[in-house]
């Protein structure tokens, strides 16, 4: 054989991402994966959004209705788990909570995985947030863009992940990392994306959970704008 094989998947799966997730059917990519994209978007926006627009790309756009991709995305936004039978009723549940939502089809470009959704979250008194998430197979998902920042964010079992918005100043990031280590968390890796003076860092740690008050404290560090935790999704 003289063809070259390109490794299309650099994302590592854990044991229970192969033997799982435990989920409500019918599709791991279109239902469970979509739910996880919604969960991550909600965790990044932190507050309950008032209005959410979902733009569905590729195979998501073609076959979303039959797979309940729409219901699963909304379920993720209201923090339902992939195995929660309430996913079926997510539209009603979200409406009860006062969340408006709409779906559109759109071509985000060939660089995106065929199962991708762009999520625009709005809430009065807050800047809008746009995230793009891809469901990459077997119920595993990742966020590939937060506003204009390209990222590679997924829920990795065994880690505690925080996302930090900060200024493009290495000293400030180093100071933050020192504080995290002082809390007893080991930093496993950091992925930083910068656009001119702004940056987003995804910090994977292991060790004890971050409490909300610890995160509030860390947010006070100079140069740090906001910190969001994905820990609840990693339990």
């Amino acid at each position: 054989m003289n063809y070259t094989t390109k490794n299309t998947n650099t994302d590592s799966y854990s044991i229970f991402e192969i033997a799982g997730p435990i989920m409500i059917g019918p599709s791991s990519s279109h239902t469970a994966g979509a739910c996880k994209i919604g969960q991550m978007a909600r965790a990044l926006f932190h507050k309950q959004p008032g209005k959410v627009t979902f733009i569905l790309h590729g195979s998501f756009a073609e076959v979303y209705q039959g797979h309940a991709t729409d219901k699963a995305l909304v379920a993720g936004i209201i923090r339902l788990k992939t195995g929660d039978p309430k996913i079926k009723h997510s539209f009603e549940l979200a409406a009860k909570k006062g969340i408006e939502f709409q779906f559109k089809k759109g071509n985000l470009g060939p660089e995106y995985h065929p199962n991708t959704a762009k999520i625009i979250m709005e809430k009065n008194g807050r800047p809008n947030m746009t995230v793009i998430g891809s469901s990459i197979g077997g119920g595993k998902s990742k966020i590939v863009k937060i506003d204009d920042f390209p990222v590679d964010l997924n829920i990795q079992a065994g880690f505690k992940t925080i996302v930090v918005w900060h200024d493009n100043n290495k000293t400030h990031l180093t100071q933050l990392c020192n504080k995290i280590e002082k809390n007893g968390n080991n930093i496993h890796n950091i992925q930083t994306t910068t656009i001119s003076k702004e940056a987003i860092s995804i910090i994977n740690t292991d060790g004890p959970d971050f409490t909300l008050s610890e995160i509030k404290k860390l947010e006070k560090q100079k140069g740090i704008k906001e910190i969001r935790s994905l820990i609840k999704l990693q339990q």
Partner: protein, 255 residues
């Protein structure tokens, strides 16, 4: 993994009992019908174990299709093959639950190899990456469960996957129903066959790693219309188009 095993059992039991029809009649009581083959005086070509594997896999597939709770192992579309073949074998051969759970770990190991070198996404590589991958994982797990060597297990995976290469993802109306559910049923039988061949000493000429690479290559060459978009294959047959119409999906432009 015990929890995974329990959810699999629940899904099988619920799937076998459920008579409700859903998704435009594409999922109904097929699990029940196939299970009836085990009744006395029924003449079958397959062994009772194989029939059970088939019925259990279909039960899981139908339960999934009706938005029931299942384990995506490795995916929801291919979620019937592993529980079907492993739990049927455990029951028919009276093996311990521990053996079955160990087998699930073996299946996962094969899954990790596939994930590393390729994908489980039918949108990227078609059904070969879902039901195909599941049959490879199940074949290895069954081989380990019955006392085969690791070499025999991985060889069984290679035999199974080779025979599923090229399988496209062309579901009617894009729903995980037709042909997915019955592909799981027959996929479970396929895994049993691959394991039997491997135990008999039949060797895959192409090693498992290379088979996975071939699967990836085929996925790259496959038309987008045959990758979960419901724009080709069974999805655009006369019957497929009728379902599309019922679902009020946009008409497919001839290209």
């Amino acid at each position: 993994m015990t929890r995974v095993y329990q959810v699999m059992q629940e899904a099988i039991q619920k799937g076998l009992k459920d008579k409700k029809s859903s998704s435009f009649g594409m999922a109904s009581d097929n699990a029940k019908l196939s299970f009836k083959l085990l009744e006395k005086n029924q003449k079958t070509l397959l062994s009772p174990l194989a029939i059970k594997a088939m019925a259990y896999a279909i039960a899981t597939g139908e339960h999934n299709c009706k938005m029931g709770r299942i384990v995506a192992f490795p995916t929801a579309g291919g979620s019937g093959v592993i529980p079907g073949s492993i739990i049927a074998t455990q029951e028919e051969w009276e093996l311990s639950e521990k053996k079955a759970i160990n087998a699930l770990f073996t299946a996962t190991g094969i899954g990790l190899i596939i994930a590393k070198q390729s994908t489980f996404s039918a949108a990227k590589a078609g059904c070969q990456a879902e039901v195909g991958a599941a049959t490879a994982m199940a074949a290895a797990a069954l081989t380990e469960m019955r006392g085969g060597t690791p070499q025999q297990a991985i060889n069984a995976a290679a035999l199974a996957l080779k025979n599923k290469l090229g399988l496209v993802c062309d579901p009617l109306g894009g729903l995980v129903a037709v042909p997915c559910i019955k592909r799981n049923g027959l996929g479970a039988v396929h895994a049993l066959g691959a394991s039997d061949l491997s135990i008999a000493g039949v060797k895959s000429f192409v090693p498992f790693d290379e088979v996975v690479q071939a699967m990836n290559n085929i996925g790259d060459l496959m038309s987008e219309k045959l990758k979960e978009t419901a724009l080709g294959g069974l999805a655009t047959t006369k019957t497929g188009l009728k379902i599309r119409e019922k679902m009020k999906l946009p008409k497919i432009k001839k290209r």
